[in-house]
């Protein structure tokens, strides 16, 4: 038996601001969170609490300014890295709203990304097979390979395409920002299987941002974090998710 390599994403006291027309606004107000290989952390919280801001800040979106705190991957300073360096270091963000890139074919995009992440072009024969297999697993028609990236994809197709990339690029830690939103139950199962495959084969650590407990029936979380007003308000095991579903966030909002 081999032991899967251990990786740790550590977020400490993270404060993040954005520019708004009304001036600079603090969105994240001291986030602490540690995700290790093989672990799944569900993040649940009301609209506007800053979940996507957390995800984008870790990925390095230029819109967000880090004013305090640290993010490290295996001790390396993530905040010092450019966006593409973060991906090469092993971080992956499945976006809530994946971006359309017209005219760039999915197959060209995937090959370019794989080459960048690995530092060398994948062997053509195995790569074509890998892509075809991964698309089949996600019930994506091979014709998607020739379409523009996310161009005219339905909401569900975009989410599957995010998971396809995750499976092919094999990151250490993945942040899934509402990958389950807007999926019908069949698509949800297919996407969840993809995440579970990655967990099994590569020991992927997962930050699973969601509004709904339904996905947690397919992807079992080890920890549940309640995210309110820019920070983690409570942490617990899977049972916390059920309580949130029953009671909502009122309890936390009252204190906030």
């Amino acid at each position: 038996m081999t032991t899967a390599p251990q990786h740790t994403l550590e977020i400490r006291n993270l404060h993040v601001t954005v520019e708004t027309p009304e001036g600079v606004k603090e969105i994240l107000k001291g986030v602490d969170l540690t995700i290790r290989s093989g672990e799944t952390h569900a993040i649940m919280g009301p609209n506007g609490s800053g979940k996507s801001t957390l995800a984008y800040s870790i990925a390095g979106h230029p819109k967000y300014t880090i004013t305090e705190g640290s993010v490290t991957l295996d001790g390396e300073d993530v905040l010092e890295m450019s966006v593409d360096e973060r991906a090469k270091a092993g971080l992956f963000l499945a976006m809530q709203y994946p971006v359309e890139v017209p005219g760039v074919s999915v197959s060209n995009f995937l090959r370019t990304a794989k080459t960048a992440i690995d530092g060398e072009a994948p062997k053509l024969r195995t790569w074509v097979k890998d892509v075809r297999g991964a698309m089949e697993n996600l019930r994506m028609d091979p014709a998607f390979g020739e379409r523009g990236v996310n161009e005219g994809f339905s909401g569900g197709e975009k989410k599957r395409h995010e998971i396809l990339q995750m499976e092919l690029l094999q990151p250490k830690i993945a942040i899934l920002d509402e990958t389950d939103s807007g999926l019908d139950v069949d698509a949800l199962r297919i996407v969840s299987e993809g995440v579970n495959r990655a967990k099994e084969t590569t020991g992927l650590g997962v930050m699973l941002i969601t509004h709904y407990t339904r996905i947690l029936g397919y992807i079992k979380p080890d920890y549940v974090h309640v995210f309110v007003n820019g920070r983690v308000a409570e942490e617990g095991g899977p049972e916390l998710a059920d309580r949130l579903e029953a009671e909502g966030y009122d309890r936390y909002l009252a204190d906030a």
């Binding site: 230029p62 450019s82 966006v83 963000l93 971006v99 890139v101 990304a113 960048a116 990236v149 690029l169």
Partner: protein, 344 residues
């Protein structure tokens, strides 16, 4: 445009472009024709000063003629190389009834060049005409393409303007018979110090003709300028007209400016469709972020986005060698952009 002044000078010019032409198959001829012949065989009078000067002082024209029913599969290529100086040029392209051909004209080197290209498509003729402006950095070029389409004729015209200091290339297509169609594509890439202008005019004078105009440009560098003007006129008699024109510009750096003026004039209510769209936008940071979040470097991401922007248009050209050459040239344009951005 001060730089264009020499092209308007009402006087002969000593210079010429060096011609290199691919082998001409049976049914195709390239001949020198006299001044009088040139004038009568030109589809209509020049529409601007530079092309009028070209016709007057070119000393006759070169005529590329396709006999009726000639079908040429391989593209005819004409390479025109400037070696400096003032040049007046007059070219006739005449495609006979039911003939089909592809002609690729590439301009390189340098010159101060005024020209008229007359395109005459007989009934049911089909021409794919590609004009590539790959001039050296100091070339000045003002050209006009005048096209006349007979009944059921098809013209696909592509203009690719990459080189030169000032290039103004106007295209005007007029329908003389019913059931004809034009597809006019253009791509341009203006760097600092380059001025590129493309004016289109499509004259729907007869019923049941179709026109599509699709021009896309990218601009980089503080003094890069482009002007696009697209005029479509649907005359009272032109029932059943179907037309659409589109211009999109991608501004890659601060300071570059793209002007875009679509204009549609409709004199009849009985049309099948008419529309236009124009958009000029900054480089999309969200697209860049998405690609880079997958490990793709900034340079490479920019390359993908710009290639993607032009990709559908380039695929329409239908001449594989030209398509891949243009994609490579866009890549090398982008190599300059990287230098510009690094110095900002």
């Amino acid at each position: 445009m001060r730089e264009l002044a020499p092209l308007f000078a009402d006087e002969p010019a000593a210079g010429h472009l060096a011609w290199t032409t691919s082998e001409l198959p049976a049914g195709v001829s390239l001949t020198q024709v006299s001044e009088d012949d040139a004038r009568t065989r030109t589809v209509r009078a020049p529409g601007d000063r530079a092309s009028a000067v070209a016709v007057k002082h070119a000393g006759g024209a070169m005529a590329l003629t396709f006999a009726a029913n000639t079908v040429v599969d391989e593209p005819i290529t004409i390479d025109l190389e400037g070696t400096g100086g003032d040049v007046r040029g007059h070219l006739l392209i005449e495609v006979g009834t039911s003939a089909e051909a592809t002609v690729v004209i590439t301009r390189t080197g340098t010159a101060r060049y005024s020209e008229l290209v007359s395109v005459d498509l007989a009934d049911n003729a089909s021409l794919n005409l590609v004009l590539i402006q790959q001039w050296d950095a100091d070339a000045i070029h003002a050209g006009e393409v005048l096209a006349r389409l007979g009944r059921d004729a098809r013209l696909r015209g592509t203009v690719a303007t990459l080189g030169g200091k000032v290039v103004r290339l106007n295209t005007s297509a007029a329908f003389a018979g019913e059931g004809a169609s034009v597809d006019l594509f253009g791509l341009y890439f203006a760097d600092s110090g380059q001025h590129q202008e493309h004016q289109l005019f499509v004259d729907h004078a007869v019923p049941h003709c179709t026109s599509r105009v699709t021009y896309k440009g990218a601009l980089a560098g503080a003094t890069a300028r482009s002007v696009w003007i697209g005029d479509v006129l649907i005359r009272a008699a032109a029932e059943g007209t179907d037309t659409y024109e589109l211009n999109r510009n991608l501004v890659l750096t601060d300071g570059a400016r793209a002007d875009s003026v679509p204009n549609l004039e409709i004199e009849t209510g009985e049309i099948a469709g008419a529309g236009h769209a124009s958009a000029t936008g900054r480089f999309d940071e969200e697209q860049m972020f998405y690609l880079r979040s997958r490990g793709i470097s900034e340079d490479q991401a920019r390359k993908l986005v710009v290639r993607g922007f032009f990709a559908d248009l380039i695929r329409e050209i239908g001449v594989p060698a030209v398509e891949s050459s243009l994609l490579n040239q866009i890549d090398s344009e982008l190599a300059h952009v990287e230098e510009v951005i690094e110095h900002e």
